[in-house]
């Protein structure tokens, strides 16, 4: 991994994806959510044979397809054309979500609007009254994977922390997030509400992060 912790610069989105990738063990089975989480695949070591799951019915998904490789019968969960990795397999939707709900995935990497200190996740709905709700597989991924990693900016443009004592956005899943990767720090969570800061970036201190998040964070950077 090329990015040391306490790096003086904030992480870019691409670096956040790279940082997540470095935490995925060889041979793990992983579902990457739509958006930045998808970029994690760019940084996985091919020799590690990380197996990608897509909830529309495939294990062993390969990279995005381009040109002549595009096949509209072979899409990822974002409905983009992808390819096969050797060893891949297909199954129907009920079997695919049995894989998720049954706890067989090692890691799901998801985006979020908010994460609470107990690992509650909000990533499916802004809560705006006139917004049309759409959930997809978000709630199933939240409850199913052994570990749920979130990639998100820690701070909103308005300067509010997205890591919060209690969610103010609608819940996707309770107590499911185990780690949060942000531009300023990495946070390990547990269901009892203890939040451990394991790495910081952009020169912030754990004390700074406590101020920013209004949380009583545990310094675990050493």
């Amino acid at each position: 991994m090329s990015i040391g912790h306490r790096h003086p610069e904030k992480l870019t989105r691409a670096q956040m994806a790279e940082r997540v990738a470095s935490d995925v063990p060889a041979g793990a089975v992983v579902n990457l959510g739509i958006g930045i989480p998808t970029q994690v695949s760019n940084y996985l070591n091919p020799e590690h044979e990380i197996i990608l799951h897509t909830e529309n019915g495939m294990l062993g998904m390969g990279p995005e397809a381009h040109g002549d490789d595009v096949d509209v019968d072979l899409l990822n969960a974002g409905k983009l054309p992808v390819t096969e990795a050797p060893g891949c397999s297909y199954f129907h939707h009920a079997d695919s979500f049995a894989i998720m709900r049954g706890g067989h995935l090692d890691i799901a990497v998801l985006g979020a609007f908010q994460v609470s200190q107990k690992g509650d996740l909000a990533n499916w709905h802004t809560g705006e009254p006139d917004a049309i709700p759409a959930v997809g597989g978000a709630m199933d991924l939240a409850v199913g994977a052994k570990d749920v990693f979130v990639i998100m900016e820690l701070m909103t443009k308005a300067g509010a922390s997205k890591l919060v004592p209690e969610l103010t956005y609608p819940v996707t899943g309770l107590g499911c997030v185990t780690r949060v990767y942000t531009e300023l720090a990495i946070f390990d969570l547990d269901r009892s509400g203890n939040v451990r800061v394991t790495e910081t970036y952009g020169g912030v201190s754990v004390a700074d992060l406590c101020d920013m998040t209004h949380l009583d964070l545990i310094d675990a950077t050493e």
């Binding site: 529309n56 495939m58 509209v72 019968d73 129907h92 939707h93 759409a134 978000a138 709630m139």
Partner: protein, 228 residues
């Protein structure tokens, strides 16, 4: 002799009545039975309940069915997309009902209908607004929501190959909801680009046994890869 092969799209859809509940397979373009959907549009029906992962995109297929006013209610997991403008308009006008279901619960509820399960406890959606008013239960320390089967009068699905018993093969991620919708509908209607002789499909590889299929119509595929 069992022969589920039928001659035309219009023929296989002719008995669908107003007010029917219809499952439509597909996830994105993969597995979308576009010719059956277009045939359904030509029927000019009203009061339909549609079960699909989405609620129609762009200006084709399910989106046009929604636009036409044929659809009273949509049961789906992901209606809102950048190109779901026909659904969005109907929804904001209060002209269409939405039952939003987490995708895995949607799949499992469809399977439950096909498998004769009366209801089941699922962890997905617990503690969310999508479980509002639903029964919950804690089992061995984990929280669950009680969900009921979703049945349909008709299922419209796309497969890759069929024989005259209705045994089906699918292709890649176009399998998605096809096998479970075939189980959950009273009448299952399948479009396929390729027909096979009985006995030519390897019995080890058949994904949907013919017992779940009622009518098969051959329609050319627009996916060049499907012909290779």
């Amino acid at each position: 002799m069992i022969n589920k092969f039928r001659d035309s799209v219009d023929e296989v859809l002719a008995d669908i009545p107003d007010g029917a509940t219809i499952m439509i397979g597909g996830f994105g373009l993969a597995g979308q039975p576009i010719d059956l959907i277009n045939g359904l549009l030509r029927r000019n029906l009203t009061g339909l309940t549609i079960v699909n992962n989405n609620a129609g995109n762009t200006d084709e297929g399910l989106a046009l069915l929604v636009k036409s006013g044929a659809v009273r209610k949509v049961i789906c997991s992901f209606p809102r997309q950048v190109d779901s403008w026909h659904f969005d308009k109907k929804y904001h006008a209060g002209e269409i009902e939405l039952e939003l279901v987490p995708q895995g619960n949607l799949a499992e509820r469809i399977r439950a209908a096909g498998a004769g399960i009366g209801a089941f406890y699922t962890p997905s959606g617990y503690g969310t607004t999508l479980a509002d008013g639903k029964e919950t239960r804690t089992i061995e320390g984990r929280d669950y929501v009680l969900e009921y089967p979703i049945r349909a009068d008709f299922a419209l699905i796309k497969a890759h190959k069929a024989d005259r018993w209705g045994n089906l093969l699918y292709r890649k991620t176009s399998r998605n909801f096809g096998p479970i919708m075939a189980m959950a509908a009273t009448t299952t209607i399948v479009q396929v680009p390729f027909l096979a002789e009985l006995g030519d499909l390897d019995p080890e590889n058949i994904v949907t046994p013919g017992i779940f299929v009622d009518r098969v119509v051959q329609v050319d595929s627009t996916n060049p890869k499907e012909h290779s």
